[in-house]
């Protein structure tokens, strides 16, 4: 293929449409929002760009900082849950027989064919008081109770008089589960890609030298697939940080995340400049996370295997 230096015309023609797309739908709106964040609300639809920092000052009030902090914490927790659950799944797919792999990867991706909103609503049916989790647990309770009755211990009510359904919905737990469920594949795929290309003989060598499976995982597999984990962490953490309809649908009164606050500013509160300032603060946090990743990746350069 020609180098773009030799044939600049081809290069420019080929890059025209993606560049135009990027400028029109990414750079321009982003700039508009950025400019808006330095404005003042004057009327119902009127915003004056005055160059004020008031919106940022307001966004840094303890009330909002607390929500920022909570969002980071929730997103972090969900990311860690994804990481812990993601490794075994990625391992299982990477070590499955070759003819199974496409189907397992497909199974991981199939939920994406259904709208995320519908999937989140479906979680309500799973977690609510009369939901599938509670149905399952109740079934087990019934079995255990039946067994106790059979043993002649039914009268003592050892596991309670009746099944008490768990409160799983409309709290932070439900929000976390929702985020984990929504972004789980984004963790598994980069992990899978890294584990898949990891030379099996590293693991065998570790076992051969006397290490157990846990030791092999933490001393050999994890350090050598850390790049995949890092990619997974970033692409789960960033959207999780901005999640708004998951806490909306699954969360309780104390489950407001920064995404909900921003959404409210643009919609019901109709305070676009303040929403813009909050959005940009969130983006700076995201940049911070990406810079951290670049730093860690840079320090480990030359370790790619």
């Amino acid at each position: 293929m020609d180098s773009w230096r030799k044939n600049p015309l081809v290069f420019w023609v080929l890059n025209l449409s993606p560049s135009a797309w990027l400028i029109l739908f990414f750079i321009v709106p982003l700039t508009l929002v950025w400019v808006l964040s330095f404005g003042e609300k004057r009327g119902l639809l009127e915003v004056a760009i005055t160059g004020t920092f008031d919106n940022y000052a307001r966004a840094l009030q303890p009330l909002y900082l607390e929500i920022f902090w909570k969002s980071i914490w929730m997103a972090g927790l969900a990311t860690i849950a994804c990481l812990i659950a993601g490794y075994p799944v990625a391992f299982a797919i990477a070590f499955a027989p070759d003819r199974w792999k496409p189907f397992l990867l497909l199974a991981l991706m199939v939920p994406f064919w259904i709208n995320i909103l519908i999937r989140t609503y479906a979680l309500i049916a799973v977690f609510r008081t009369r939901g599938y989790v509670n149905f399952t647990l109740e079934w087990f309770w019934d079995q255990a109770n039946g067994l106790l009755t059979l043993l002649g211990l039914g009268g003592y009510q050892l596991i309670g008089a009746r099944y008490e359904p768990l409160e799983l919905l409309y709290n932070n737990f439900a929000v976390n589960m929702g985020i984990v469920y929504a972004f789980f594949p984004f963790m598994v795929l980069p992990l899978y890609a890294n584990i898949e290309k990891l030379d099996r003989s590293y693991m065998e060598a570790s076992l051969d030298l006397g290490a157990g499976h846990w030791r092999t995982f933490f001393s050999v597999v994890f350090p050598l697939t850390w790049h995949g984990a890092l990619s997974g962490i970033i692409i789960v953490f960033i959207p999780a940080l901005g999640a708004f309809f998951i806490p909306d649908l699954l969360g309780g009164t104390d489950s407001q995340l920064i995404g909900n606050v921003i959404e409210r500013q643009f919609k019901s509160a109709n305070d676009w400049p303040f929403g813009a300032a909050l959005s940009f603060l969130l983006m700076y946090i995201t940049f911070g996370a990406l810079a951290l990743r670049a730093l860690v990746a840079g320090r480990n350069r030359g370790l790619d295997v």
Partner: protein
């Protein structure tokens, strides 16, 4: 050495992947302090057998005993063997020192001992200077030494080597062959090496097992394997061989009279000891074989001897130390003979198209019944 008890005993071991038997009822005994080679073409099951010794594959049938202990339920990390992998598998995220120390750390060796043993092991493979280096700063040969030190520092009863030299260039490979033999004599550990390279096996091993499609064809010392192969496969796989079809006409003890297709009738004295026990009977079709370096070439007509044949030079291949001459015999068969270029002026000046005579001693003839 012959009387020492076997350190590894493989008893009727098979390994099937689906319907394919990668290893097919193999029985072997490897003795203490032996340098043992598993030799065969790719896909013959030698690596699978080695991996079963290490514990990475479980036999479908049969048992493996290491130092008298049944290894069936023993996982790789609890076996008294260590392995040098074909890819070396030197951990890229650890220094040379940490790589070698890894196997001691995971088994909770006291830290003081670790430092000392690692130093010893690195000294043994001449890598003391590189202890703090990272694997990506080492050459292929050095990485292999790390893999060796890492395995030997564990003081295993058996060291398993999976094609350890295949990734090295020819010169380095020769040097490493000598070094491995030196190491083996120094540490006095049984080495089991897997290789597809006959020269490697012949030059390094005390005994060699030749494998073909999952089965062991012959187990013997290198010289015995070369001079007394027990089958056409072994004869052909080890070194070069002129092979003819023949039929046993008469047999008296070890002495045989054989009709060789196109070459005539030949009486073979019973030089080959194993021939006495071979189940060769009169009238049986056999392979008649002779090594090219045992075939002599003469420019002048020879007095008729037991084996004297006339042929025309078809091709001459010059290898520096030897020249291989290919003669087409009057019967139409092609025979190859090696000429040693043992003097600078010994250029055979054999020309293509020239008529020559060749001969060999009857006792250098091999009878192969399978």
């Amino acid at each position: 050495m012959t009387d020492s008890p076997p350190i590894i005993s493989v008893q009727g071991v098979s390994k099937r992947f689906g319907n394919v038997a990668a290893v097919d009822t193999v029985s072997l005994e490897i003795r203490q302090n032996e340098f043992f080679a598993l030799l065969g073409p790719s896909g013959c099951g030698k690596t699978t057998l080695l991996r079963m010794l290490a514990g990475f594959e479980t036999p479908s049938e049969g048992e493996i005993l290491i130092d008298g202990q049944d290894m069936t339920d023993v996982p790789p990390n609890r076996r008294p063997v260590n392995m040098v992998f074909q890819s070396y598998a030197v951990f890229p995220h650890m220094s040379v020192f940490d790589n070698v120390a890894y196997g001691l750390r995971v088994t909770k060796t006291p830290p003081g001992d670790i430092a000392q043993r690692v130093q010893e092991a690195l000294h043994m493979v001449q890598l003391s200077e590189q202890a703090e280096r990272r694997p990506d700063q080492l050459s292929g040969g050095q990485r292999q030494r790390v893999a060796l030190a890492r395995a030997l520092v564990k003081r295993p009863k058996v060291l398993l080597l999976d094609e350890p030299l295949s990734a090295l260039d020819a010169k380095l490979r020769e040097a490493m062959q000598l070094e491995l033999v030196r190491l083996q004599t120094t540490v006095g550990i049984t080495f089991v090496i897997v290789t597809h390279d006959q020269h490697e096996a012949l030059s390094m091993a005390n005994r060699i097992a030749v494998m073909e499609s999952g089965r062991v064809q012959q187990v013997a010392r290198p010289a015995e394997l070369y001079e007394f192969p027990n089958s056409r496969f072994v004869a052909d796989f080890i070194g070069k061989m002129n092979l003819f079809q023949g039929r046993v006409v008469e047999r008296q003890g070890a002495e045989m009279t054989v009709d060789i297709e196109g070459l005539g009738r030949l009486v073979l004295p019973g030089q080959d000891k194993s021939a006495e026990t071979r189940p060769v009977s009169e009238g049986q079709e056999v392979g008649v074989a002779v090594r090219p370096e045992k075939v002599k070439i003469h420019r002048d007509a020879m007095p008729a001897g037991p084996i004297v044949l006339r042929g025309q030079v078809r091709e001459v291949a010059y290898y520096g130390d030897t020249s291989h001459v290919f003669l087409r015999l009057d019967s139409g068969q092609v025979i190859s003979a090696n000429l040693r270029n043992d003097s600078r002026t010994s250029d055979p000046s054999v020309k293509i198209g020239e008529d020559l005579w060749c001969s060999w001693e009857p006792q250098d003839t091999l009878i192969l019944d399978r």
